[in-house]
């Protein structure tokens, strides 16, 4: 496992696109949350919707950062598709990685990125919460765990799309369209049939983070958290299993 992580680090540590996007992600999480906190803090009307003081800051920062996850999503897609473009994925197999090892290396990369994103979000939430002057509290810190689950799902789906489509531009286009349009339309349609319609792949983990105000506006009938959590875990397992199946059967 360490051996696979080391190989991925060798590929990425001098990749300028990867490093620039990583820096942009950190700046975006810090910047967007800082600006939002500056606007909201002290505004009684806005504070009814979102709060950047402990303990609510964990949930608020996680919710906002979930939209910035699109940047690590791009990193996953670009890194995976670049291996197809340069044909280095097949060279890795020729040189002695098994197909399972290759895809495990990619899954570890995705999990590492999800962990890094969660770590950045945690630090930013702590920092923003501290700025408000409210006493520090770990209450509501579970939303950092939910953020990690959402990141694992979001980035895993990006990996799956990249493995199927292989070309960066088309994968980014289809993935973003799926995330912003297709899934929302599907959710709205399915919710007309039953509340379980909320449990679409990305939506399940997104609902774990959604602010109450958002849920009210989107007219979603709230379900117990355990439903969203269970659905997210099932989708994550299915998504990563699909990644393995896809790569095992592919002609490289």
């Amino acid at each position: 496992m360490i051996h696979l992580i080391h190989i991925e680090i060798l590929k990425l540590r001098r990749n300028p696109s990867f490093l620039i996007l990583l820096a942009l992600f950190v700046l975006s999480v810090v910047g967007v949350n800082y600006v939002a906190a500056e606007i909201v803090n002290g505004n009684k009307e806005l504070e009814k919707v979102i709060k950047f003081t402990f303990p609510e800051v964990w949930k608020s920062v996680a919710y906002i950062a979930s939209y910035v996850l699109v940047i690590p999503g791009l990193m996953v897609i670009m890194h995976t598709c670049a291996e197809y473009t340069y044909r280095t994925h097949r060279q890795n197999i020729i040189d002695g990685l098994s197909r399972d090892q290759y895809i495990t290396a990619k899954v570890l990369f995705v999990l590492g990125l999800a962990l890094f994103s969660s770590g950045v979000t945690f630090v930013v939430a702590w920092f923003i919460g501290s700025l408000s002057g409210a006493p520090f509290s770990f209450e509501g810190c579970k939303y950092m765990g939910y953020f990690f689950i959402h990141a694992v799902m979001f980035l895993g789906l990006a990996l799956l799309f990249a493995l199927f489509l292989k070309r960066s531009a088309i994968t980014i286009g289809i993935f973003v369209t799926y995330w912003l349009v297709i899934e929302n339309v599907a959710e709205k349609y399915l919710c007309k049939l039953d509340d379980f319609g909320q449990l679409v792949p990305l939506g399940s983990s997104e609902h774990l983070l959604a602010l109450d105000a958002y849920r009210i506006v989107s007219l979603v009938h709230l379900m117990p958290e355990r439903f969203y959590l269970s659905a997210a875990v099932v989708y994550i397992v299915a998504c990563y299993a699909a990644c393995y199946c896809r790569y095992r059967k592919q002609n490289l």
Binding site: H3, H6, I7, L10, K11, R14, N15, P16, Y86, R87, T88, R90, Q91, N92, I93, I94, D95, G96, L97, S98, R99, Q101, K249, N251, L252
Partner: protein, 303 residues
């Protein structure tokens, strides 16, 4: 002992059948050439045995088949089609990734780069390399870790004559070290100069295989084989006129001062030709029997 045994390999790409029931074995220490025109299935076959293509039918195994294929691939050096490297990394950094995958000592990287004359450029980005340099880096990568088996698919692509000669020297050196080499090429001269064994493919079908001269002498059209002799004398035109009258001669072509005489194999010996010329008042300055080239034999088989 056979290094590789291929049994009834078939590969379909949707409606196209790229390989049809191909079987042969590669003995240890052989330099095994896989010959065939473009689209004959050479790269598909190598893609299957290197694990990048899924087989539609048949089996293959390295040695006794006991070890997992990906573990065996770490002991192989493979150049398949094009050089595949990360363009934003240097030659050294790219080979470092290969060394980590193979589990071999990165201390060997400078040696293989030296062998292909890239040591001075080892820290330059791969994307700044010329086509020939990329090809040489791919060969360096294949040599990393002192592999037991070397698989090279068109290794001289993009190389200048000096580079081609250097690759030929490396292949001969590897063969002398006892390594088994699989070499796919459509450059017949290349194969003729370095291979001990050959398999000839056409449209996915194996036409002949075995030791190089045995394999080429098989085939339906082998009976019509032609022997060529090169003759030189003071008066080449008179020489050409005279030898045309010799029984068994099928064709005489004058090329500068050299008369090229063709006859059916086994019908004329050099001694008979020499005596005939002398009896007709011509003293030969040179007489050489030219063995039939691999190219013409290959064209006969694959026609």
């Amino acid at each position: 002992m056979n290094v590789l045994t291929i049994s009834g390999i078939t590969k379909h790409y949707k409606r196209v059948t790229a390989l049809k029931n191909v079987s042969f074995s590669v003995p240890e220490g052989a330099v095994y050439g896989i010959l065939g025109p473009n689209g004959s299935g050479k790269t598909t076959l190598l893609g299957i045995v290197t694990g990048v293509l899924r087989v539609s039918g048949g089996t293959y195994q390295f040695f006794d088949g006991a070890r997992p294929l990906h573990e065996l691939r770490k002991e192989m050096g493979v150049l398949l089609e094009t050089p595949n490297f990360y363009p934003y990394l240097s030659a050294y950094q790219n080979l470092l990734i290969v060394a980590r995958i193979k589990g071999c000592d990165p201390a060997g990287i400078p040696d293989v780069l030296q062998r292909v004359d890239l040591l001075a450029r080892q820290h330059d980005m791969f994307r700044t390399y010329s086509l020939g340099m990329k090809q040489r880096l791919a060969i360096a990568s294949a040599l990393l870790g002192n592999p037991r088996i070397v698989i090279l698919d068109e290794p001289t692509n993009g190389l200048d004559p000096e580079g081609i000669s250097e690759i030929r020297r490396i292949i001969q050196q590897l063969a002398a070290e006892g390594k088994t080499i699989l070499l796919a090429s459509h450059l017949l001269d290349e194969v003729e100069k370095v291979c001990t064994h050959v398999a000839i493919l056409r449209k996915g079908v194996l036409l002949a295989e075995g030791e190089i001269h045995e394999a080429l002498s098989r085939g339906e059209k082998a009976a019509s084989e032609v022997t060529t002799m090169e003759l030189e004398a003071d008066d080449p035109e008179q020489l050409a006129r005279v030898v045309k009258g010799l029984a068994g001669v099928t064709e005489v072509q004058l090329s500068g001062r050299v008369a090229m005489l063709s006859c059916r194999a086994g019908t004329l010996t050099p001694q008979e030709v020499n005596r005939y010329c002398f009896d007709n008042g011509i003293v030969l300055g040179r007489l050489a029997t030219k063995p039939k080239g691999l190219e013409s034999k290959f064209l006969e088989l694959t026609k």
